[in-house]
């Protein structure tokens, strides 16, 4: 089960797949094994993380100053 894992090699440690970085799977064969993670689940994680980061900013201040506003 699982989808095709074609990725583009960046360096010994990292690959890129569908525009998203991932650990080089060859480096997870000995001590820690990867789970099967569907492409949809991967995007679910990325979306949730972005939302969490937005929420964390909001906890500390009313707004984040944009760099353009400082010029």
């Amino acid at each position: 089960m699982g989808e095709e894992r074609k990725g583009e090699y960046i360096d010994e440690h990292v690959i890129i797949r569908y525009g998203v970085f991932e650990v080089n799977p060859a480096k997870m064969t000995k001590w820690v094994r990867q789970a099967v993670v569907s492409e949809e689940y991967r995007w679910y994680i990325i979306r949730q993380r972005r939302e969490y980061l937005r929420w964390m900013h909001d906890l500390f201040a009313r707004k984040v100053l944009k760099i353009t506003e400082t010029e």
């Binding site: 099967v36 569907s38 679910y44």
Partner: protein, 408 residues
């Protein structure tokens, strides 16, 4: 078609009372212990009520590590593992998922760890608090289904819905017997939008996270539902019950070892698209002051939080006081993921406390109505509000939309 799911091979390997033979499972437990920062703690509704961190993802994984290291036995863990609603907050919040799940592909899967541990304890012949009653409840549902006398399509008697279609509105015994008004409203809303859809005659119980207790029979129920949907011609399966939605998108792939042969869409995603396309136009003013409760199975587990809010924002006259869906990772109605209400069977008091906390926040917002999108949240909040004497209306989102579309 691919759904958002994750799968670990050790779900299938059998455990022993004093030994977890699968090293991959143990590494999963160790890497949770290794964190020791317990992001899973504050976000856990059970921890919020009990203050006991044994009842967290960290607690559960570490307890199993203790079994592996020879300090504990599985049979001793049953009662501790009853303290989990399987709401999905911890496995999402864990940095191994939230910050690294896409990079390392070893997300936290606590809901399934709890399912696995409970079902292994039962399989090995042990019990835990409430296990007898849970098994009885699950077996009763399956038996009732098998009698063929469950009123699974009675709700649609007068609605003239075919038993086939490329779009199938799918549900199981729970909504068919306990939330028929919501099913009827969604069906009418779809008809109003001109959507051609069907239903199937005998939807099998989906029993999220608890099919594992049934062994081979559980697998059979999964396959039969998929077969029936395929036979009916389903290309898109629309689901109104978030628990059934998670069953199809996450549980079913792990049982059959592959993706499903159709797309699965949650009702609010489907209906919001219709509103955007102009096939549905909420016109009538609904003069209520509302807030929305994100169902755990939808928000935390499936990552669906936008379409219900978009629908509410499109209703004229509605005053919608929103609470951030990330803040709602910390909330829960208290019912838990189980269709038969296993958490309530095991911990009625904690379930009530969790729901009470949630309702108190609603009251603080000064609204008159709490909008829900899950039949279990619906029932749970109605029970809690009665017991706590809280004066608030509980309305399913279909009711608000139907009112604005002038559908009765």
């Amino acid at each position: 078609m691919p759904t958002a799911h994750t799968y670990k091979p050790w779900y299938k390997t059998p455990w022993k009372d004093d030994w977890i033979p699968d090293e991959v499972a143990v590494i999963d437990c160790y890497t949770t212990f290794a964190c020791r920062h317990k992001f899973c703690r504050e976000v856990c509704p059970v921890y919020q009520v009990t203050g006991n961190e044994s009842y967290t993802s960290y607690g559960f994984h570490t307890a199993l590590l203790a079994v592996k290291r020879g300090y504990e036995r599985l049979s001793n863990l049953g009662d501790t593992f009853t303290y989990c609603l399987q709401c999905g907050a911890c496995q999402l919040r864990c940095p191994d998922t939230l910050f690294a799940g896409d990079f390392y592909r070893v997300p936290k899967t606590t809901n399934l760890l709890v399912t696995k541990t409970r079902s292994e304890i039962i399989r090995l012949g042990f019990k835990f608090k409430g296990s007898d009653d849970i098994l009885k409840a699950i077996n009763k549902v399956v038996e009732d289904f098998e009698t063929g006398r469950m009123p699974l399509v009675d709700w649609a008697k007068d609605l003239d819905i075919p038993r086939e279609g490329e779009v199938i509105l799918f549900y199981d015994y729970f909504m068919a017997t306990q939330m028929t008004n919501v099913l009827r409203l969604w069906a009418k809303i779809l008809k109003t939008a001109g959507v051609k859809f069907g239903i199937i005659e005998n939807p099998r119980p989906t029993l999220l996270y608890e099919l594992d207790y049934l062994g081979e029979k559980g697998v059979k129920l999964v396959k039969e539902n998929i077969d029936a949907l395929q036979k009916a011609g389903a290309k898109t399966v629309v689901v109104a019950d978030p628990h059934v939605y998670v069953s199809l998108t996450q549980d079913y792939p792990r049982f059959i070892g592959s993706d499903l042969p159709f797309d699965t869409v949650f009702i609010t995603d489907f209906v919001w698209k219709l509103i955007k396309e102009g096939r549905l136009t909420p016109k009538k003013s609904v003069n209520k002051k509302v807030t929305y409760h994100d169902p755990c199975m939808l928000n935390k587990v499936s990552g669906i939080w936008e379409s219900p809010r978009n629908i509410l924002k499109s209703i004229p006259g509605l005053q919608f006081i929103d609470e951030d869906h990330v803040t709602q990772w910390y909330y829960c109605c208290g019912h838990g993921a189980s269709e038969v209400g296993s958490f309530k069977i095991m911990h009625e008091d904690i379930s009530y406390q969790i729901g009470l906390r949630r309702l108190r926040r609603v009251v603080e917002l000064g609204v008159d109505t709490l909008v829900v999108a899950c039949p279990h949240c619906n029932q749970q909040f109605n029970e809690v509000k009665l017991k706590a004497k809280i004066d608030i209306e509980i309305r399913d989102i279909s009711e608000i939309l139907a009112e604005s579309l002038d559908i009765k």
